[in-house]
Point group: C2
Chain length 304, copies 2
């Protein structure tokens, strides 16, 4: 692998396929398959990759083998690897495994936080602040994802003020980047237009990032809206896999290939190779035994 | 059926499921099934329905039985029925069958027009002008759909000037409404933002309408962009069925239930019952033996 240099991007797509894309799939991939997925993503232009999660593999078997995956990923190719961390033990594992960045998820809904992470939002904020303090001097980049920011399956609509408050607290504790996540795919662009400027105003030093699921076919419109509101980092999952354990029939993240297609046709550079991504999405579908929710692989590129 | 009165809509969704939704499906529905589909759409709030196509049923067997379908649709429920017409013979059949509106499709691409309709764009414009002249005094509403307006599978990008010229000619010949169609689902919102004002300026008396396919996951973003640029009429197909004979693996029209969900969450009234639409999409999927491309039926509504 030697594709280190690529064009400057207007939008950096964070490839979350290896973590969020796989986390809710019934089929478990081997370490070798996960590494191949990451290699393929890098070859298709990915430069930031959510590669692993340092959660308990007994609770989330899809995320087993995080250390082995990190030991196998291509280095010196200009790629930055993100590990999901939900507690100090996870941080220790992440540091030992050699991730470049950690991501901490803080739900905006207490009920969701309780069911998904076993604690209240206030407790999760405290845990995060401890983790952030422990990363000082490590050279690790820290991002915080505010999940269920556009709606919660248990609490319904989430007051934007709650999202803004969490973002403020995260920024004060030193988050380099704050991601707004539509975890269950209920959001619409007018929520993006409302939330993005408000979060920017309370976290001016942090990079803003957005994470959309296409659960109800609004994900791509949301991503484009975020781009229009100046967000330069967007999450996507090759093939469009992923989902939420609380919405088992639903489709997953917006697909990297379809997002890259839309952005390219919109005049925004992403550094992504749409054709290579589509092939990777189809490859991953075969590995998981599912047709990818992504459409580019089926429909073909429109190259002009 | 007695649901004649409903709230005023900000966006009128034209239900194209019975025509564009079925036209490329391998499974043929009976007349009774087509009538049930239309009855269900009306019960879910549809007030304009592309019900039938007066093409040669030997060439398009999916569209057989147009007269029988029109004889069976619910009347006196406030619904307006549209028949697709591509020549004078089709117009005669449409008038005899009692449609409320006719729609004529004029591709913006010569190669597409030749393959799909067997004539040049110039010839199709002449045919349309003859049809339009013949409708004077009939009380029938006439709409023109400019197809492949966002790209052609054979010619690639379509110069916007060509779309604008066809719209101008259509308006001069008396079109009540002009629809811009992304027949193969390659468009992005910046094309909508470019085309809509230009077409409006050459056809100020015509209602503007847009027709999007979600072939590459850009359809809903395009629909929302059209709404933002003042388009008040959008086509959609319940379940998201449909497609294009020149892209056989691709998914179809934007789904009525998903569009209605996005618009409702965006604060725009459509008069649609999202839950009833989602059930109809699932019912149609069962009738066609396919999982609907629509996502609302799988994911469930987010009612707030």
């Amino acid at each position: 692998m030697d594709a280190v240099v690529r064009e400057r991007a207007d939008v950096d797509i964070v490839e979350v396929g290896p973590r969020d894309g796989l986390q809710n799939e019934d089929t478990l991939l081997s370490v070798a398959q996960k590494v191949e997925l990451i290699e393929r993503a890098v070859a298709a232009g990915a430069r930031r990759i959510e590669a692993v999660s340092f959660v308990n593999p007994r609770l989330v078997p899809q995320m087993a083998g995080a250390e082995e995956v990190m030991a196998g990923v291509p280095r010196d190719v200009g790629a930055s690897y993100i590990g999901l961390v939900l507690n100090r033990k996870g941080l220790e594992r992440a540091l030992a495994a050699g991730v470049d960045e950690i991501n901490v998820v803080i739900p905006a809904s207490d009920e969701f936080c309780q069911r998904n992470q076993g604690c209240s939002v206030a407790d999760m904020l405290s845990v995060y602040e401890g983790i952030a303090a422990d990363t000082v001097g490590t050279g690790i980049t820290v991002s915080v994802t505010v999940s269920t920011a556009f709606g919660c399956p248990f609490e319904g609509d989430i007051p934007p003020e709650r999202v803004v408050d969490i973002a403020r607290r995260a920024a004060e504790a030193g988050a380099d980047e704050i991601a707004l996540a539509d975890t269950i795919g209920v959001g619409v662009p007018r929520q993006v237009a409302d939330l993005v400027p408000r979060v920017r105003s309370v976290a001016p030093a942090a990079t803003l990032r957005c994470h959309f699921h296409n659960t109800r076919n609004t994900g791509y419109a949301n991503a484009l809206a975020a781009h229009e509101y100046g967000v330069t980092v967007l999450d996507a999952s090759v093939g469009g896999f992923g989902g939420c354990p609380f919405a088992p029939a639903a489709t997953g993240n917006i697909a990297t290939e379809d997002l890259a297609y839309m952005l390219r046709r919109s005049g925004a550079r992403t550094g992504a190779d749409v054709g290579e991504l589509a092939r990777t999405g189809e490859w991953l579908g075969a590995a998981l035994g599912m047709q990818p929710p992504a459409l580019l692989g089926r429909a073909g590129d429109f190259p002009t």
